[in-house]
Symmetry: C2
Subunit: 210 residues, 2 copies
DNA sequence: GTCTATATTTGGATAGAC
DNA sequence: GTCTATCCAAATATAGAC
């Protein structure tokens, strides 16, 4: 490949996303970088993502990534933390006082909403979550644990006899995979529709035994 | 890192795995490379795996990888194909004439057996399966489809009213995630035990409606 | 057809201008 | 604090001996 032509993206333009006054303009580039990183890493995974690609998509120089995050690994950790804040907050708050089947349905629906509305974050999580090598185990295991624990707890509350250490992950997996399939192959279907089908598939976890 | 000491692995030894006569010695190094690639890629993923690491683990020179597979991408494709042969053959053959709940239980159990006995292949598949970028979509989408279709078909046979396009992936996801959790955190539990818990979680897919 | 170099490219990280 | 330019390690791929 020859020398790439000096990119024509308006260079000095200050890029004010939504001029809302004064303070909230500070970490504008950080947000752009995070968003771009989420997109690229969702496609190619952590190792497969080059910071050149992130910088190009974010519309910033590669040096800015280092000024804002220090290293590729710390960028990834910041991205995971950012994604997790949204995930865990949404899932943990979903029951909102409900109990039993209603609580489980709320959690299932909340996860499906994330799959639909935050596809980059969801796919990054799904793809990296299964890497069990000691490399990421430290930074990703707590993430998996926090998500699964929401399912475990709501199921345990609804059915104290349930074997939540296996059933919790099972319901989580059913929701996640069904959600990915929904978003990819049947996006025209509605959230209540898919929620109902998933709940219908796993509703026996709330019943005594088989 | 200084010059690595000239590796002490017995260099010229012909490495005859199981001297069984004549013909079946041909692709010995290919098998070693595939097995090593499965192990390393399960930990680090495709992009995170260096051919140096594969060559070292396989006990062959890096040049041999190129003689046998041509490129890193073609090695990965061969590995996926190899893993898929085992997966799809096992899952598709699992029902073995059974119908209804017994057929579904056989498929669930067969997937759990793979998770237990073929951890490298399972994790590679799980980790790479969720990458939706057009990069791997072409080579991995058929893989996902073949696996999910086994679940869809056995459920459709057992319960014609089931919404298999969503329920199939849901049961697959429940089994896969529960199996990974089993293998990682509770390996002391037995296969029939886990199979029973998973089946108990999703048994309602075989019933009329909720 | 497997090994030991070596070539070439990619990509993480840094230095210094502005 | 963002950019351009550069360094350097790592990794894909190739050449050629044996």
């Amino acid at each position: 490949m020859p020398t790439p032509p000096p990119r024509t993206t308006t260079p000095p333009e200050p890029v004010v996303p939504h001029a809302d006054g004064f303070a909230a303009r500070r970490a504008a580039t950080s947000q752009q970088i995070l968003q771009a990183a989420a997109q690229v890493m969702a496609d190619r995974g952590y190792a497969g993502t080059s910071l050149d690609a992130v910088a190009e998509l974010a519309g910033v120089a590669k040096g800015s990534i280092y000024n804002n995050f220090g290293s590729k690994e710390r960028l990834f950790e910041a991205l995971i933390a950012h994604t997790m804040d949204r995930f865990s907050a949404t899932l943990a708050a979903a029951p909102d006082g409900r109990t039993g089947a209603a609580a489980l349905e709320a959690v299932v629906s909340a996860l499906l909403v994330e799959v639909r509305d935050n596809p980059a974050g969801t796919q990054l999580l799904a793809a990296e979550l299964f890497r069990m090598g000691r490399t990421w185990q430290e930074s990703l295991e707590p993430v998996r644990e926090r998500i699964v624990s929401v399912f475990r707890e709501v199921i345990a509350q609804a059915n104290p006899a349930a074997d939540v250490s296996v059933v919790g992950p099972a319901v989580f997996g059913a929701t996640l995979i069904a959600g990915l399939e929904w978003r990819t192959f049947q996006p025209e279907r509605t959230l209540p529709d898919i929620t109902g089908v998933v709940m219908g598939s796993v509703r026996s976890v709330l019943e005594p035994a088989g």
